[in-house]
Symmetry: C4
Subunit: 244 residues, 4 copies
Amino acid sequence: MVPPHARAGAIFLRYVRVTFSRLNQSAVPMTPATTPFAERLLACGAEIARTGAELAARGWTPATSSNFSMRIDDKLVAVTISGRDKGALTVSDVMAVDLDGHALDPALHPSAETALHLQIYRREPDAGAVLHTHSHNQTVASRLFASKGVVALHGWELQKAVTGYTTHDSELDVPVFPNSQDMRDIEGRVDAWRDAGKPLYAYLIDGHGLYTWGRSMAEARRHLEALEFLLACELDLIRLGGNP
Amino acid sequence: MVPPHARAGAIFLRYVRVTFSRLNQSAVPMTPATTPFAERLLACGAEIARTGAELAARGWTPATSSNFSMRIDDKLVAVTISGRDKGALTVSDVMAVDLDGHALDPALHPSAETALHLQIYRREPDAGAVLHTHSHNQTVASRLFASKGVVALHGWELQKAVTGYTTHDSELDVPVFPNSQDMRDIEGRVDAWRDAGKPLYAYLIDGHGLYTWGRSMAEARRHLEALEFLLACELDLIRLGGNP
Amino acid sequence: MVPPHARAGAIFLRYVRVTFSRLNQSAVPMTPATTPFAERLLACGAEIARTGAELAARGWTPATSSNFSMRIDDKLVAVTISGRDKGALTVSDVMAVDLDGHALDPALHPSAETALHLQIYRREPDAGAVLHTHSHNQTVASRLFASKGVVALHGWELQKAVTGYTTHDSELDVPVFPNSQDMRDIEGRVDAWRDAGKPLYAYLIDGHGLYTWGRSMAEARRHLEALEFLLACELDLIRLGGNP
Amino acid sequence: MVPPHARAGAIFLRYVRVTFSRLNQSAVPMTPATTPFAERLLACGAEIARTGAELAARGWTPATSSNFSMRIDDKLVAVTISGRDKGALTVSDVMAVDLDGHALDPALHPSAETALHLQIYRREPDAGAVLHTHSHNQTVASRLFASKGVVALHGWELQKAVTGYTTHDSELDVPVFPNSQDMRDIEGRVDAWRDAGKPLYAYLIDGHGLYTWGRSMAEARRHLEALEFLLACELDLIRLGGNP
């Protein structure tokens, strides 16, 4: 199912990775790639590394948690390898998988959570980038709203930062799904929500953080930044005894 | 109503913008401007970009929210173009409008919120700079005090940082107006407050953040910094069960 | 009462200040001073500027609030000039006064709060540096404990960071005095506390922040850092419903 | 009990320290050491200094509190000297002691808290690095849970960042021991907990902060970062009225 030229490109990239793994992200060379696929994978890796450094600096990726991905083409996705420090990523910390989760480079193994990224790329044709983060506010909100199953945001001007929302006078629902070490359980919850016809731009997992996405990395980041802000405000209104 | 030399200067600046749009703010050249107006617009753009970078670093402009402006002369105002990342502004992200909101460069369209900036410049002859930010504390305070319609600050030494206040033993009222996607609704609330003879140095919009201003950008920033601090303290006293 | 050579040094320094006022603190030259007094004043100015930059970066000096000082010799004190941005101080933002508050350079006027610094240098022979800051936690704690008149700290290991304390099993009292725009009112409260024989290492002013001091700037900063930490912990225990 | 070559290496290092004590950590030379022991001590010192700078930047080591150590070999440990600013450590701020607490360089005296580090190295054969920090959340949690004697963490995905935990559906107990100025009291509490057969990855001391460890400095830091995050979440759920 994986096109042969893509697999060749992935194997080639392993050598690129070995060569450049000690360089920091700003020195990532874009020229030596031999195929458009390899060039695109390197470009995705560089953008993911830059994003990781900025999100880690805000404290949203504690203790090697979180993972990030970008769509390479209609069959392949670039995703961070599990367990790396998200504040110090290089292109060698990003791998390519197909939409069924098979690694293109046989020497690399994707993390279990990659399945949730791939589900989003399969279900949402427009999704170009997925961000899974683990900030304090996201994690606390997920616990506090777990029994209700949703954080219902309304009345906030910044809801307009989520694509498709044009007024504060709307309701933006962020579902909270139970956590599981078996990704198929979480995938089932996501499918059920979508199959019920409900819009979905982001979701929380109980005790585990947030998934959000966008057509581009810039849009995914804007969604992430807006949702982090809105969850923080929502929590604070509760601390203050207000009626959010 | 717009003087011809100003419009010529604005058209000229479009070319300057294209040329320099990729330079970072510290490299903004001040020399090639051909008219005093163009020089002044470039200077305002540079000061707004520098301010934006500093306010964004504090987290007060999440997800491309917020906007900033400065008075160019008695007829014209420099204002940020909508939707840009406020932490990475350059002079090419600032446009000129007259006091009725007409863009000098016909290729640019001001954001809806520009109307609130212009209302301030029309009503307050001394206003030289306006800052609209969207910090956590401003947004949460606006929701919590929306039903009361005002945050009444008293007893804080830092009230003296707002021009005209000389003692903590005074009352500094920050009104909270309802949010609307039609700026004329908000303009009407501002006019009504001022027409009732009440002093006005800043206002909150429910769920939407703060507007404040000053004779210079330095004074507007001092007002913003003081009000952010005072709102944060006021909220915390409530969390702590104190009587603010 | 001011020795003539000191006044001559101060006048000389005005010219040094004009010359170097645009240099940043790291470029402050220590060589051109003509007297030991001028050298010492420049050294104090550089240390105060460095301290100001670090405290401002923590957000403890909002909106040009706060002031800092160091003892120059047995008759003179170096103190920040009022109204400057404490994060961007240079030696030209520091002036010399005698213990009665007379400026050595007749062109400069000390701020009203200088009186509280001088009272400390007169009463505490060991005091070598005084820091007045205006952090969120200091200001909120001062309001919350104003009616009680004191924050009584006990059970915290970090009390040992205050000189003279050797165990967490002690009580460190930080009095809270009412605010006033007449410094003599506050001076009277400080005198009364000390005249009652109570130890004093720091005090809060209601709605106005903290004063603390030490034999050196390093000790004053350690006291400040410890007290900020302890006040923050004390407030948080209250938010959490604990019994501090 | 201390091998002679190690003592010689330690004395040698005193001269290295004097020579290099003014260099910042990035300039620490690794070459002039004369023995493998001295090389290892210098390497530990450099890693501890780097770690200290990063933890201090997060505000987890206020007012010269906190201390850090690494195992040099089966008999010796490198540990920070008491009272230094943990954000500005160099190799000259790290000393070598044997597992009974005797300093190799007779001119240096270890701090009292070194005893708690050594107890961990004696009891846990795998421990390669120990971090004692003093963050706001650690200190507040220690006070709030002191009477209960333990913070019982469960339901958090990030528990998996602690070695040995593979699911959020587990319980991670962090005991809270009473504070004492006599380290033997605290050692006794730790021994009793371990002798009762309970696992131990970290502990809090009431009003005093956290001890945690790992096989390497990287693992110790991951544990520290995860526990800081989890304690912060646990506290916030309480503030929000949730049932953690």
